[in-house]
């Protein structure tokens, strides 16, 4: 079989299986699959900016949180499908607004800046809610988990397709050029600022919608919870473990995280976190291309050995 046909086929099988799952199971495992596809959607989006340009965002929780906030504010006033789309667009706008000033800053400065912005927005929303006299909001009459599940699978699919298309486009080449040497890219005529802002905006779109759907799943809005920086950290960890310049990476990373969290998170949360921390260090140092990159290397070596 043609090698390039394998990846789309495997992805098609994965998402088809995802969409068929509610016919087979409704309970616990549907929740697990929902969480899995949620991380796929978030990490594939993150990769569009951070995987391709090397501008590590440690603040993607801000988009998840804003999406959830948009949903909660408009709940009961507009159809929730429209609110999900609105949440995505609001996050694109926010990404452009903060991207223009922030993306001038490079390296570790950018990383802590994104974290700082995310926390700042969180505390602003906390104060707005406190000013309104609200301590958490309940959502009544949220859609069934099956409906939300389909939304999340579709969003994961959209994010994967987006990551794939960007990665294989002129835009993707430009973004990689920025990662390798931004000054050289700029000199040769790559419009670096515009490309970075576009990538940031694209990487905010799906996370906003994911946040909007997920707050309907919990049926409870608590600012500190939806803007939790742990979300940002987990996205980065999944991308590093899975591999961040390869469409398979976020899927493999999310699957790995699900296995780890299913076995350990409930019974031994501290050990789960310790293992996660250790894996992050090991992968950064020893497997910088992640599971996906390691897999590619392994297959290439097998081929060479079989060929010789």
């Amino acid at each position: 079989m043609n090698r390039t046909a394998i990846l789309p086929l495997v992805l098609a099988i994965l998402f088809a299986a995802g969409l068929l799952l509610p016919a087979l199971t409704t309970g616990y495992w549907l929740g697990v699959a929902l969480t899995f596809f949620m991380w796929v959607g978030l990490v594939q989006s993150w990769v569009i900016l951070s995987g391709l340009t090397g501008y590590l965002s440690l603040g993607h929780a801000v988009f998840y949180g804003l999406g959830a906030y948009v949903m909660v504010l408009t709940w009961g006033q507009v159809p929730f499908e429209l609110a999900i789309l609105g949440a995505g667009l609001a996050c694109v706008l926010l990404a452009v607004a903060i991207g223009v000033p922030c993306l001038r800053v490079r390296g570790p400065y950018f990383v802590i800046l994104t974290f700082g912005v995310s926390e700042l927005v969180k505390f602003i929303v906390v104060n707005i809610e406190a000013g309104l006299g609200r301590a958490g909001r309940l959502i009544f009459g949220a859609p069934l988990i099956e409906t939300l599940y389909y939304w999340i699978v579709i969003l994961a699919l959209v994010a994967t397709a987006l990551a794939f298309l960007v990665s294989h486009s002129r835009l993707g080449s430009g973004l990689r050029a920025i990662r390798e040497d931004e000054t050289a890219a700029e000199t040769t005529g790559v419009p670096v600022t515009r490309l970075k802002v576009i990538a940031f905006a694209l990487s905010a779109f799906v996370p906003g919608m994911v946040g909007a759907v997920m707050v309907l799943r919990t049926t409870y809005f608590e600012t500190i919870h939806v803007f939790n920086p742990i979300t940002s950290f987990t996205i980065v960890t999944i991308a590093i473990i899975g591999g961040s310049d390869d469409v398979r990476g976020p899927i493999l990373g999310a699957a790995f995280l699900m296995i780890l969290s299913e076995t350990l998170l409930v019974n031994a949360p501290e050990i789960y976190m310790i293992i996660l921390g250790a894996l992050l260090i090991l992968f950064v140092l020893l497997v910088p291309k992640g599971i996906a990159g390691g897999l590619t290397g392994l297959i290439a070596r097998r081929r060479r050995e079989a060929g010789s």
């Binding site: 590590l56 440690l58 000033p101 922030c102 001038r104 800053v105 490079r106 390296g107 570790p108 400065y109 990383v111 802590i112 800046l113 700082g116 912005v117 926390e119 700042l120 505390f123 602003i124 906390v126 104060n127 406190a130 950290f233 980065v236 590093i240 949360p269 501290e270 050990i271 976190m273 310790i274 996660l276 921390g277 250790a278 894996l279 992050l280 260090i281 950064v284 140092l285 910088p288």
Partner: protein, 295 residues
């Protein structure tokens, strides 16, 4: 207005500022010489805090002595970490470049590991000691003796560090490495030994800060993160690699935070801190006192 002029407010700004300066000094030292952003800095504070807590509770060790022990333990930890992990890596240029580029992620991993090891060992519940509870009156100022200790010991340690940088050969070597690492190696400075000393000093100062924190506040496994963030804000404020800037920046942030909260309300504390942080990063990323340099 009376509130703003009260010596009490100035004293609490000083307590906070001293701790911030102490923390930022250690963080900045390690970044300046080795280009490593130690996100786990706050966890060293946490470890120092636990040394004092357990020393006082189990061995009824005087907190002053326990704080010295905390500083020494943290310094030893720094040396051990440097010797076992970083020194072997320094030999491989490629690996070290990767460590430098991803130091935030690596130390984040270290931080998560330390937090959860502490939670496993000591449970997540906060613990506190009561020490030097009496109130001291100096003129119009009424201050807890423990807080006065924090100011005095903390400032002494800060100025001690600055004197070390200015007056000793080691300090000269450290400043040379911060300015020009490769040139420093060329003129015969032992980079590895100096870096090890930097790790000992940076971690030791954080351990000392942890001991001081344990005298005035409760310790818990997850107490370190806010201190890390504050230290980051201070070194951005004072300039990455600028050691005197850390001292001034720390005191400044303590004043901004204390008076800002007094003028508005406690709920604006985080907005204020992150607002200052982002504004400085966007407007003057080289820090308030830094020279503009090419990056």
């Amino acid at each position: 207005m009376d509130l703003l002029l009260s010596p009490q407010l100035l004293a609490s700004a000083l307590v906070l500022g001293t701790l911030y300066a102490l923390l930022a000094l250690g963080l900045n030292l390690i970044y300046g010489t080795m280009r490593l952003l130690n996100i786990a800095h706050g966890e060293i504070v946490m470890i120092g805090g636990y040394v004092v807590y357990w020393g006082f509770t189990l061995a009824s060790l005087n907190p002053f002595i326990a704080t010295v022990a905390a500083a020494l333990a943290a310094a030893l930890l720094g040396v051990a970490l440097f010797g076992s992990v970083l020194r072997p890596m320094l030999r491989s240029g490629e690996l070290m470049a990767r460590v430098e580029a991803n130091s935030l992620l690596i130390f984040f991993g270290v931080s998560v590991i330390l937090q959860n090891l502490a939670a496993l060992a000591f449970t997540a519940s906060p613990r506190g000691i009561s020490f030097l509870d009496e109130i001291i009156e100096i003129g119009a100022l009424r201050i807890g003796a423990d807080r006065l200790v924090v100011i005095i010991v903390g400032l002494a340690a800060c100025f001690g560090c600055l004197a070390l940088f200015r007056l000793t050969t080691l300090g000269l070597a450290i400043r040379a490495i911060i300015q020009q690492r490769d040139a420093a190696a060329l003129v015969g400075i032992d980079i590895t030994r100096t870096n090890m000393a930097v790790f000992a000093l940076g971690f030791g100062v954080a351990g000392l800060a942890g001991g001081l924190v344990a005298m005035i506040e409760q310790v818990s496994p997850f107490m370190g993160f806010p201190y890390t963030i504050a230290a980051f804000i201070v070194i951005i404020l004072g300039g990455l690699g600028n050691l005197t800037g850390s001292l001034v920046g720390g005191l400044l942030l303590g004043v901004v935070e204390t008076y800002g909260v007094a003028l508005t309300s406690a709920s604006y504390r985080s907005i204020l801190l992150y607002g200052v942080f982002i504004a400085i990063l966007l407007i003057r990323p080289e820090g308030l006192f830094g020279k503009r340099r090419q990056r």
